[in-house]
């Protein structure tokens, strides 16, 4: 009981003990690496969202058409490809064959491109498929017909009416992708590209048997997960007043 209390106090005061590997407080290591991970995730999710919405919308305009089938197939392949493999393929093509970008490391903007792209593919695929299917659903709703009958252009209907309606599920999905990226995908991608973020640090910590540091990382991410979930609940309420918080 005394031990549990001491543990809880340490948690609240962010005292996870000293990292055995780096010989300094584990929190310090976490806060030093966390911004790098957040930068990577922000870049990749922003890219995924910006590409997925127009892609999904275009596919939804003609369900069963050529563009729709193409996006669907590429999306499914993107979902099925493991990230470490995707990362290695990108290294092979863009860094080794074409020599456009550095293979791995950290520093310039060029170093960010390949890891962010690798991390973006899975969320991009999921976003596109989701935008497409909910757009198709929304476009069959009576209100769209009314708007068409009023003589409204298709682009305006998409932007003003349907996009707003799929915003809440889309935001939930993005939050979920953010959590998944934080808690797993970054570990793999950062290891492949030697990106000095939390995930790469976690792998190194385990290889060195540094459980204090590992514990600090897991708790930080768990805390962030809870925080993001709360934030999203509040935000969905703001967008859609019909949602009740309990």
């Amino acid at each position: 009981m005394v031990q549990l209390w001491a543990f809880a106090v340490d948690m609240v005061t962010l005292d996870f003990g000293d990292s055995l590997w780096q010989r300094r407080p584990a929190v310090e290591v976490v806060f030093e690496r966390l911004p790098n991970t957040l930068l990577l995730i922000a870049a990749s999710l922003a890219f995924a969202i910006l590409v997925a919405i127009p892609l999904g919308a275009i596919a939804a305009l003609r369900p069963g058409g050529f563009l729709d089938r193409l996006t669907m197939s590429i999306g499914l392949i993107g979902l099925a490809t493991p990230q470490f493999f995707l990362g290695l393929v990108f290294i092979m093509v863009f860094a080794v064959q074409l020599k456009w970008l550095p293979t791995s490391g950290f520093g310039t903007a060029a170093h960010l491109v390949l890891p962010a792209l690798t991390l973006a593919i899975t969320p991009l695929a999921r976003f596109t498929l989701m935008v497409r299917s909910s757009m198709i659903e929304e476009l069959n709703q009576p209100y769209v017909r009314t708007a068409r009958a009023k003589g409204m252009g298709r682009a305006r209907i998409l932007r003003v009416h349907t996009l707003r309606n799929i915003l809440v599920p889309f935001m939930n999905l993005s939050a979920w992708e953010l959590i998944v990226a934080l808690s797993g995908y970054t570990v793999v991608v950062e290891t492949v590209f030697a990106w000095p973020g939390l995930g790469h640090t976690a792998v190194q910590a385990i290889q060195r048997g540094d459980l204090f540091l590992m514990q600090a990382i897991v708790f930080t991410i768990a805390f962030m997960t809870v925080f993001i979930t709360l934030l999203i609940d509040v935000a969905s309420k703001l967008i859609d007043p019909r949602i009740k918080l309990n």
Binding site: Q83, V89, G184, I206, Q207, A222
Partner: protein
């Protein structure tokens, strides 16, 4: 329903099969699944070499269609002269075994807890669902790494760890379905007539759970295959001398610049497995859900009409 069911089972099965064939992607997916399962099951008979056989004179031989490749090693050899094709065939056994065991164990845990929480309600429900919430908020692969770091890597560890971190989805699905089913008149009637809880659960509630659970567990299977590959790739999953696709990609990574086939083929094997299962799962989801079937029918009709109008 049952009388009709028995007399029509034969016809329904053939029409189901025809329905699968008419959906090209799903048919391709199903065919690939059968192919992958057969190839990996009979790997010891099909594989041209022992996957652990080293042949240092034939190190890093390229695949057949590249200069220097030979039919002896169709997909080339790795840094120790081991045949890549044989390793992929044998590696599939480990991957599929872990995926299958984990899915079944996680499904069992999730269904029991979900039924318990959903049927009993009240305090049991809130305690169980808080446990689910807490577990969900713990980070996926990081948590797996933490557990593996404490108890040590290996195949059994992988199965246990992946089941322990994946049962929550099933519990949530089962609980919410059971909660809504308990409100339906036929379940209330069954309870009024005096059916014991066990009978209500197994005869009246469980059959409704099978279609969504089937789809969910097929999709979860792909997640587990990907998770196993990722953890093995990081070096904390399956350990050599055991063979796993993720592990082979990790060892091939050191030779990325001179022998791309060491990374490419195991990676493609993973992607192909997941893709075919996903295609099949999508079809199962649409086929087992009456609402989805209706929607698919309407969509086909609308697409046909639109095409007719535009031409």
């Amino acid at each position: 329903m049952t009388d009709q069911g028995i007399s029509q089972t034969g016809r329904r099965r053939t029409s189901l099969f025809r329905e699968l064939l008419s959906d090209t992607p799903a048919a391709i997916g199903a065919a690939l699944i059968v192919l992958i399962v057969v190839l990996t099951l009979f790997a010891p008979l099909i594989a041209p070499f022992d996957p652990a056989d080293q042949n240092l004179t034939a190190r890093l031989a390229p695949p057949v269609w590249i200069d220097g490749g030979s039919w002896q090693h169709v997909l080339g050899t790795d840094s120790l002269g081991r045949d890549v094709l044989s390793r992929i065939l044998h590696g599939g056994q480990v991957t599929l075994l872990i995926g299958l065991c984990t899915t079944v164990i996680a499904l069992a845990i999730g269904v029991v807890i979900g039924l318990w929480a959903g049927y009993c309600g009240g305090r049991a429900d809130s305690i169980l669902m808080r446990i689910v919430d807490i577990q969900v908020s713990f980070p996926g692969i990081l948590l797996i790494l933490l557990i593996v770091g404490v108890i040590g890597p290996g195949m059994m560890t992988m199965i246990i760890v992946l089941s322990v971190t994946n049962w929550m989805v099933y519990a949530r699905l089962v609980r919410s379905t059971v909660m809504s089913l308990r409100q339906t008149p036929y379940v209330e009637a069954a309870e009024l007539v005096g059916c014991r809880p066990a009978r209500v659960i197994f005869v009246h509630i469980l059959p409704n759970l099978i279609p969504p659970l089937l789809t969910l567990s097929i999709l979860e299977f792909t997640n587990i295959v990907l998770a196993e590959a990722a953890v093995s790739f990081l070096g904390f999953g399956v350990q050599p001398p055991a063979i796993s696709w993720g592990l082979d990609v990790a060892t091939g990574r050191d030779y990325l610049f001179i022998a791309w086939w060491l990374v490419a083929f195991p990676g493609i094997a993973i992607a192909l497995t997941v893709l075919s299962v996903n295609l099949f799962a999508n079809w199962v989801r649409v086929t087992t859900d009456p609402q989805e079937r209706e929607r698919r029918f309407a969509r086909d009709l609308a697409a046909r009409q639109r095409r007719g109008l535009s031409s």
